[in-house]
Amino acid sequence: MKPLFAHLFANRFWVIAPPYVWMLVFFALPFAFILKISFAESLIAMPPYSDIWSWADDGFQWLGSINNYLFLLDDDLYYTAYFNSVRLALVATLVCLVVAYPMAYAISRLDEPYRSLFLLLVILPSWTSFLIRIYAWIGLLKNNGLINHALMSLGLIDEPLVMLHSDFAIYLGIVYGYLPFMILPIYTNLVKLDHSLVEAGYDLGARPWKVFVTIIFPLSMSGVVAGCFLVFIPAVGEFVIPDLLGGPDTLMIGKVLWQEFFVNRDWPVASAIAVVMLSFLIIPIYFYRRIEMQRLEANK
């Protein structure tokens, strides 16, 4: 809080303006367009959708329809896809948390320079191409892939396990791809944790497990929640993972939207899918924003 410092910018409007206008035009405004197109009808033209209003001789006329939304309700493909996306994202988020928490805790308890080295090791993969990392699993999971090959030559299995194009592969892909996003916020919370609180817990007679449940975990809660949102929300709309690792039966809504747009070239239906997805993601996004702002305030 530096009220005076801020006050000194008599023309502070001009400081705020560049990022504000940019985000307003290129982040907020597009949602108005997506909402608009979701009421239009698909045409074979360029752009491939109809107008939803006109300013003809008789003034304003509404030409839009909710047909696209009715269409989504009509075909069980869509709500299966929505349901699947949420289910897969949720389970993968929980697995991610279970894997990430001990890792974050272990790193936070290391001494420098090992702490920053291990943190770097955790972050590094996420700096290489996401696409390539997911692609790497294809070669491992295939029926004639490396894992099946290894298991068969060890004599553990007789015929290959079906791993690629399954729910399992999607869980694996999400956990693999998003693990650093879960580790980082938990780590930043844990590293700030005053270790004397833990020692006080032991001193007062609590066993390690009890100390973890009653002291460490509650104090790292905001990192846990932020990490869960950071994994869950984008995972719901994930495209690359279901496309490369998922099978034809494991539909996720991101892939459905992609196909609607690129394969069927039906922009209005794709827009309607996006609007519906956004409308149920808006609540987690709202809570995520609150948590993220609080975490930033707490740093001060």
Partner: protein
């Protein structure tokens, strides 16, 4: 604690094992990724001769550089505004627009931006065509969020009395920003730049939506080739990627360690 360490090691193996396999098999003579035949660099030679791939690579590189600069510029201002300006009209909207792109599913961002560009070109005639320019705008939009978060947490860690002291000694606010604030948050600016660069270089979904005919970025080319099946050429490309990033980050980490004295100085002085 021991269980946590075991998990850390297991998690790291999990993270690196697929990459390691990828790298090893990029030197395999055979087209098959399961059977090792003999060492060869022929896939690297083929990669370098693939004009489409190399063209996409240089396009992606250009977009990523331009994105990183713009994102750091906007992100620095945004972070400064969020940390130092207190309340201002429309602040909630501002912070929402900064944070939401962190979690927004890519298909939504991509589709909505495409519809914006199409709508705008109908209304205003701009953008006339889609390509590198629209991809750049889209990439800046979603990477600003990440850059802002990195820089604002550094700004918040900074001792506010340093800026006050500079002002007390006669420096105007603008001068304080350039002479005191900027040098002190420079590490965050560098990591923000690198992050925006890799985010842009990595993006498939959003670029696919907002790109036009003729402008194919590297991930778009990789994707179309990956869909056809595993190819050792992609392994070779991945190896170059991973190698570059590993070497780059270890250099950064190494310099950071050597600057440790400087870093601890800063901590002591900021107390």
């Amino acid at each position: 604690m021991r269980a946590a360490r075991v998990m850390l090691v297991a998690g790291l193996v999990f993270l690196y094992f697929p990459l390691l396999v990828l790298i090893i098999y990029s030197f395999n003579e055979s087209r098959l990724v399961t059977i090792w035949t003999e060492f060869s660099v022929k896939w690297y030679i083929e990669l370098l001769q693939d004009e489409q791939l190399m063209g996409a690579f240089f396009l992606s590189l250009q977009i990523a550089c331009a994105t990183a600069f713009m994102a750091v510029l906007l992100g620095t201002i945004a972070a400064y505004v969020l940390v130092n300006f207190g309340r201002f009209p429309g602040q909630t909207l501002f912070s929402s627009m900064i944070v939401a792109p962190l979690v927004m599913p890519e298909v939504i961002t991509g589709l909505s931006l495409l519809l914006l560009f199409v709508g705008l070109s109908e209304l205003l005639g701009w953008p006339a065509s889609r390509g590198a320019m629209t991809i750049w705008i889209a990439h800046v939009t979603f990477s600003v969020a990440f850059v802002t978060i990195i820089i604002s947490s550094r700004l918040r860690e900074m001792d506010g009395s340093l800026e006050e002291a500079a002002m007390d000694l006669g420096a105007t606010p603008l001068k304080v920003f350039f002479v005191i604030t900027l040098p002190l948050i420079m590490p965050a600016l560098v990591s923000g730049w690198l992050l925006a660069f890799t985010l842009s270089l990595d993006d498939l979904v959003i670029a696919s939506f907002v790109s036009g005919p003729g402008a194919s970025t590297l991930p778009m080319v990789i994707y179309s080739s990956v869909r056809l099946g595993v190819s050792p050429k992609i392994n070779a490309l991945a190896t170059i990627f991973v190698g570059m990033i590993l070497v780059g980050s270890f250099l950064v980490w190494w310099t950071m360690q050597r600057w440790q004295v400087y870093a601890t100085d800063k901590k002591a002085a900021e107390g």
